[in-house]
């Protein structure tokens, strides 16, 4: 079933079909939110909110853009609103502060070995310094395992532009990551 038909059928009340939409684009939505720098524990809640917002606006989706890029924009808006709200709270520690104060990063909570957790933390720090588009492209490609084509559709970019952002992102990371972290690999 093509995406426009799927959206129309959901709009007309076939709610169960929304599960297909989640299956197809769940990774993209989660990756888009994580790529904005949202803490791992909040990603799922925000992804849920993004899908609910998408459901509410589904009747307004006319197929002018690809469904993936429409969902991507919704996810990014949800993540940005969340980050904005967080920045308004005076007592909310930044990710950097939380890390420095020794709070357990997500990978440690997942039960990863300390060495891996340290590498993850270093990578998260380095990725925070990349441009938004590089960070999102890298996280969608490597973490969510989306294809170049899917990323290009979601970000409304040319395929070669996506490749360039990923290549430049990796190049920038190699300069930002410490030698010790890379030598462990």
């Amino acid at each position: 079933m093509d995406e426009l038909t799927l959206c129309r059928r959901i709009s007309r009340g076939e709610r169960h079909l929304f599960a297909q939409l989640i299956d197809r684009h769940g990774a993209l939505v989660a990756g888009a939110i994580a790529g904005q720098g949202v803490a791992g524990s909040d990603v799922e809640d925000l992804a849920q909110l993004a899908f609910i917002n998408a459901y509410k606006g589904l009747a307004g989706f006319r197929g002018e853009a690809k469904l993936s890029s429409w969902l991507y924009r919704i996810a990014v808006n949800v993540a940005r609103a969340h980050l904005h709200r967080q920045s308004q709270r005076p007592f909310t520690a930044s990710v950097e502060q939380q890390l420095e104060e020794g709070q357990q990063p997500l990978d440690e909570r997942r039960g990863l070995a300390p060495a891996n957790a340290l590498r993850s933390r270093e990578l998260a720090r380095a990725m925070a310094q990349l441009s938004e588009v590089q960070r999102v492209a890298l996280s969608l490609y490597y973490f969510e395992e989306l294809s170049y084509e899917d990323i290009a559709e979601a970000l409304r970019m040319n395929l070669n532009t996506v490749r360039t952002h990923i290549r430049r992102g990796k190049l920038a990371l190699s300069g930002l990551l410490s030698a010790e972290v890379l030598d462990e690999l």
Binding site: I10, S11, R12, G13, R15, H16, F18, A19, I22, D23, G26, A27, A30, G31, I33, A34, G40, V43, E44, A47, Q48, F51, I52, Y55, K56, G57, L58, A59, G60, R62, G63, E64, D107, R110, N116, R119, S120, L123, L138, S139, Y142, F143, E144, E145, K170, L171, L173, S174, L177, V181, L182, L185
Partner: protein, 145 residues
């Protein structure tokens, strides 16, 4: 020397690649789909929720225009509004202009025609509006199909 630098860079790049590949994405829990479906189950059908179509269409129409066209449209609109304001004639008189100066004279064959600039402007804007409506209609028709 260049070869050594290249080797070092490619070695570093491979390590970055390996580091990225060992990471995991923001994995959604098995209950995620069920939670979303339960949440939307409490909402009315999307078709019943009013989509914000009206302002979007207007913005879309403005986005269709190039920068030059937008400036031109803005100037034409502000000029026509200014001409309709009371006292516009007096302001023009300061610059030694009269409203009659804004009359376009042209001839078709042996017939001489004259029209005020305002009416020409109204016709042009009307045609542009009709063209815009036509473009919308055809676009929505294609999407509908």
């Amino acid at each position: 020397m260049r070869r050594i630098v290249k080797q070092v860079l490619s070695g570093k790049s491979e390590k970055v690649e390996a580091l990225l590949r060992e990471q995991h994405g923001a994995q959604l829990s098995p209950q995620f789909k069920r939670n979303v479906l339960a949440a939307i189950g409490r909402l009315p059908e999307p078709a019943l929720l009013s989509p914000p179509a009206r302002p979007r269409d207007l913005l879309y129409a403005l986005r269709l225009l190039s920068t030059g066209e937008r400036i031109g449209l803005g100037l034409a609109l502000s000029a026509s509004v200014a001409l309709l304001l009371p006292g516009a004639g007096d302001v023009l008189a300061l610059a030694e202009w009269e409203l009659a100066d804004f009359t376009v004279n042209f001839s078709v064959g042996s017939t001489a025609l004259s029209a005020s600039l305002l009416s020409v402007l109204a016709v042009v804007l009307g045609l542009a509006f009709m063209a815009g409506v036509g473009a919308f209609a055809s676009r929505n028709h294609l999407i509908g199909a």
